[in-house]
């Protein structure tokens, strides 16, 4: 029996054993038995789950009125709302309305949040364990693509000889546009300078070996490698540690887009020596649509050295703004840019206090657990879903293919399912009818993300039932 009681390997050199399931696994009773033992089961009630009626409604309703929850497998697009966020936002609005400008420097003793000037760092301290970084390596700021531009200004320093960027062939379009425009900005030709690394013909998984060999092939003319920690389309979790080490062994800098990784899979950015990373917080971090993003910069890149001249600190070049200055200098508004050491020194603008309040509400949930505990359930739950989809079917009649790697080490929560042509609409309609929310990627792919903090094994079982019924209908 695939047991979640067994000691979960959190040390990276211990392989994750792929859970296996008994013959009776494809029953609702079995699913319920897994829910009864789920070590994260109490987290679900910390979230607001839309009801089936809610998601069909065209008028905004009060949450929680109908008690038939929908099955929300879309936390990889937009995470559900932690109940704590309302409370944190109320506190923020009360603070703003009662002390106005004093909110910058005055901490109210009965508020869980610090004063606004320290609030971004307050949030970053809580984000750091989620990404496996030192607190000073994390900044809470901006939005993913804006942060990517800022960090590329610091880490993409092309020369006529070394100007290429190696990226994922199916990078999220925003990254693709960002990279292309950065290359153009430096006066180079994107077509010449963008090296796309993708899977072999007919495959979806990009092997680590392939990535390493592309790095080898282009290392002499490459300035930067920029990859997704977890690929949005296929759900593949890249071997960040190995790829980072290899790129660096060739003298290359490497940055990671962790939009789909943060809050989903355990990360050890500091130990893996990653140069930099960016992410958003509205997916697995559940901080709300468009909520404030984050970035990571390894401590070795964040040093501010006054040893040569105490008036002319030496630091990695960056596009600057007052918020990158240390707390004292920031308010003195002098014309000498003295960045804070670490990721904080890459901040530019004042941070939105309401966004930060929202994020702090979301983090208050993560603070009660760990990425290790989340990963433990994620591996098991996703394996269970996969088992349900694949069981009781002959491979020759498979009307679908799971294009996410089957090795749990190479994936997170999400499964991407590619259907045989013409089936997506039928499946989609039946899912909608059953109150199941999953993401469609036309023409043929559906992405399903059973999120550990609020999804259940029973929901996975229900999904499996509808899925099979939809495919049967299409035969």
């Amino acid at each position: 029996m695939g047991s979640i009681e067994q000691e979960f390997p959190i040390r990276e050199n211990v392989k994750i054993t792929k859970p296996s399931f008994p013959s009776e696994a494809n029953t609702i009773e079995y699913a319920k038995s897994l829910d009864a033992k789920d070590h994260l089961r109490y987290f679900r009630e910390q979230f607001i789950i839309p009801s089936k009626a809610n998601i069909k409604a065209t008028k905004v309703e009060k949450p929680g009125v109908s008690n038939e929850p929908c099955i929300y497998f879309c936390g990889n697009s937009l995470g559900l709302q932690p109940k704590a966020i309302r409370e944190y936002l109320n506190i923020h609005l009360d603070t703003w309305s009662s002390i106005g400008v004093h909110g910058h420097f005055r901490r109210l003793s009965d508020s869980p949040m610090s004063q606004w000037q320290l609030l971004a760092e307050h949030a970053s301290k809580q984000v750091a364990p989620i990404v496996g970084a030192l607190p000073e390596e994390v900044a809470t700021m901006g939005t993913l693509t804006m942060n990517l531009h800022l960090l590329m200004a610091s880490f993409y320093m092309p020369t006529p000889e070394k100007k290429k960027i190696i990226l994922d062939w199916k990078a999220f379009p925003s990254d693709h546009f960002a990279i292309e425009s950065q290359i153009r900005h430096h006066g180079y030709d994107p077509e010449e300078c963008m090296i796309l690394v993708g899977p072999d013909e007919g495959e979806y998984e990009v092997s680590t070996e392939k990535i390493l060999s592309v790095i080898d092939e282009h290392a002499d003319t490459t300035a930067l490698v920029l990859l997704p920690g977890l690929q949005y389309y296929t759900g593949q979790f890249f071997d960040i540690k190995t790829i980072t080490a290899h790129a660096q062994s060739k003298g290359l800098l490497i940055g990671w887009d962790l939009a789909h990784a943060v809050g989903n899979v355990p990360l050890q950015l500091h130990d893996w020596n990653a140069d930099f990373a960016v992410w958003c917080t509205y997916k697995y971090m559940n901080a709300g649509p468009g909520s404030i993003g984050g970035l990571y910069v390894h401590e070795r890149h964040g040093k501010v050295d006054y040893s040569q001249d105490e008036n002319k600190p030496v630091f990695r070049h960056r596009l600057a703004g007052w918020y990158g200055g240390d707390q004292v200098g920031r308010m003195n508004m002098e014309n000498k840019f003295r960045p804070s050491p670490g990721a904080s020194g890459f901040q530019v603008s004042t941070t939105s206090a309401s966004d930060l309040a929202s994020l702090c509400g979301a983090l208050s949930v993560f603070n009660q657990t760990s990425m290790s505990a989340i990963r433990k359930k994620s591996v098991h739950l996703t394996a269970y879903l996969e088992h349900l989809l694949l069981s009781d079917t002959e491979s020759s009649t498979h009307a679908f293919q799971i294009i996410t790697p089957s090795n749990p080490e190479a994936r997170g929560t999400q499964l991407s399912v590619k259907l045989k042509p013409g089936r997506l609409d039928t499946l989609s309609d039946m899912l909608e009818e059953a109150g199941i929310v999953a993401d469609k990627r036309r023409p043929d792919v559906i992405r399903v993300a059973p999120v550990p903090l609020y999804n259940t094994y029973e929901e996975a079982w229900n999904f499996g039932q509808i899925f099979k019924a939809a495919l049967a209908k299409c035969e």
Partner: protein, 475 residues
């Protein structure tokens, strides 16, 4: 003389709207009370949560039940952090309900009877409301990012230095964030900072006033080597309003573009960015725009720079640092790897915006929509004129110097007062004790009576408080 433009229909004249003119000021308390009673814009004050004297000095959120004193504070700091509109918590509640009950469907679904648009459209709705405030066509405005990150994005498009034409003209006393940003942009292009930043010195170090003819002559002298001019529409420290139209016209006549930082101008003075042919501008929305600390910012890009010719690929639009949210809305979600920017300022967006922040901004914009910048400015001129009048009547007025110009057209809401450091340090705590909030930077006090929610009585009480504080500290 208030600034006018042919483009704006101005039905309201000074005489019709306000039954007071600057020549009829009196320092009697009753005069202030009477003006407030007759103020045709007094209804706007009720749209805001006014911090009380007690809460302003509190170190906890919850106030003691025995607190008798709920007198509103004298909040003359709206030029730093504007107050909370009462509708904002209501709209935020609506946003939370939508997220809670719709999950990711909130992106595309327009809910019936909802006071809010769908998340996919919300930044455009905000931009249309914002355009009226700055005298722009809706397509010329985008709600996005934060001031300094937006400045970086726009400089990436508008600061295109070449050898021999790489300099940037900037005020010596520009806000530090702009200074750091500009400096880092010069460095990003590998030019020498000392040689490429040309400063406009104030005529007078005490008042920090800048003369337009000095700006003209610096532009003239350096015309052939200047790549860009960046100026503040309203100088943050002195409160001076620069002649945006005249300076822009002059720079254009010498073949030079001008970018404007309007942080202290938007929501404060009347702007006609389109008619004045302004090239580009950036601003934040947490000052006079009352959208909350660090709230989402906005940009203006003149329509002449927003054209997109789809037949020309990458050469069909002005180069910029790109991201998916700048893509044409029609095919934004097709996830193609070719960037096709939207026309206008929207095409300069990069990331999907914080819906929470945008909701707070819309809440504030709807209050602005109840009136006009023209009416607000007229009241503002009267309030600030009244403040100046009372200040100069004080027997102790020799203890400070009014830095800001006495001419209405050269100032907005704010007056800056220069003190001896010791005197100001002694005055500030006394003001605070009386629930009076003004801004201090070193030995300069900035007082900004905001027409939206400040009253003649606020000003009368402030001056009384200042008089008492100065008498108490008089040597």
């Amino acid at each position: 003389m208030a600034m006018h433009s042919e483009g704006i229909t101005d039905e309201i004249t000074n005489n019709e709207l306000f039954q007071v003119s600057t020549s009829s000021y009196s320092n009697e308390r009753e005069f202030a009370q009477l003006q407030d009673e007759k103020d045709p814009l007094s209804y706007l004050r009720e749209k805001f949560q006014l911090p009380s004297r007690v809460s302003l000095n509190s170190s906890t959120l919850s106030l003691p039940a025995t607190s008798q004193d709920h007198d509103p504070g004298i909040y003359l700091c709206g030029n730093q952090i504007g107050l909370l509109p009462l509708q904002t918590p209501i709209l935020i509640n609506e946003y939370l309900r939508t997220w809670a009950t719709q999950g990711m469907y909130g992106l595309g679904k327009k809910m019936k009877d909802s006071p809010l648009p769908s998340w996919g459209e919300i930044d455009r709705v905000a931009a249309e409301l914002m355009a009226k405030i700055v005298g722009a066509h809706p397509q010329e405005v985008s709600v996005m990012g934060n001031l300094t990150t937006n400045l970086h994005l726009l400089m990436a498009s508008f600061y295109k230095p070449s050898v021999g034409r790489s300099k940037i003209i900037v005020e010596r006393e520009t806000f530090s964030s702009d200074y750091y940003a500009i400096q880092s942009q010069v460095q990003w292009h590998a030019f020498n900072v000392a040689e490429n930043m040309i400063f406009i010195e104030p005529r007078c170090d005490r008042t920090l006033s800048i003369s337009t003819s000095d700006i003209f002559s610096i532009i003239e002298t350096n015309a052939s080597s200047v790549a860009l001019v960046i100026l503040s529409g309203v100088q943050y420290l002195s409160g001076q309003v620069l002649e945006i139209e005249r300076i822009t016209t002059f720079a254009h006549s010498r073949g030079i573009l001008v970018g404007w930082d309007l942080a202290h101008a938007v929501g404060n003075i009347e702007l006609n960015l389109h008619d004045w042919n302004v090239d580009f501008a950036v601003w934040c929305n947490y000052k006079y725009m009352n959208a909350g600390p660090g709230a989402i910012g906005s940009i203006f890009v003149h329509e002449k720079y927003g054209h997109v010719d789809k037949t020309m690929g990458m050469d069909g639009y002005r180069p910029r640092l790109a991201g998916w949210w700048g893509n044409d809305v029609q095919n934004r979600f097709e996830m193609k790897n070719s960037f096709e920017p939207a026309i206008g300022a929207t095409g300069y967006q990069v990331s999907n915006p914080s819906i929470l922040d945008t909701v707070a901004l819309i809440s504030s914009l709807r209050v602005f929509n109840l009136t006009s910048m023209s009416a607000l400015r007229q009241k503002s001129a009267l309030l600030t004129g009244y403040l100046e009048y009372l200040l100069l009547q004080m027997p102790t007025c020799h203890l400070f110097e009014l830095m800001t110009s006495p001419n209405e057209s050269e100032r907005g809401a704010q007056l800056s007062l220069r003190f001896e450091q010791q005197v100001l340090d002694g005055v500030m705590p006394k003001l605070r004790q009386n629930g009076i909030v003004v801004a201090q930077k070193k030995n300069i006090m900035r007082v900004a009576p905001v027409p939206m929610y400040n009253t003649f009585m606020d000003i009368w009480k402030f001056v009384e408080g200042l008089r008492n504080a100065l008498s108490a500290s008089k040597l």
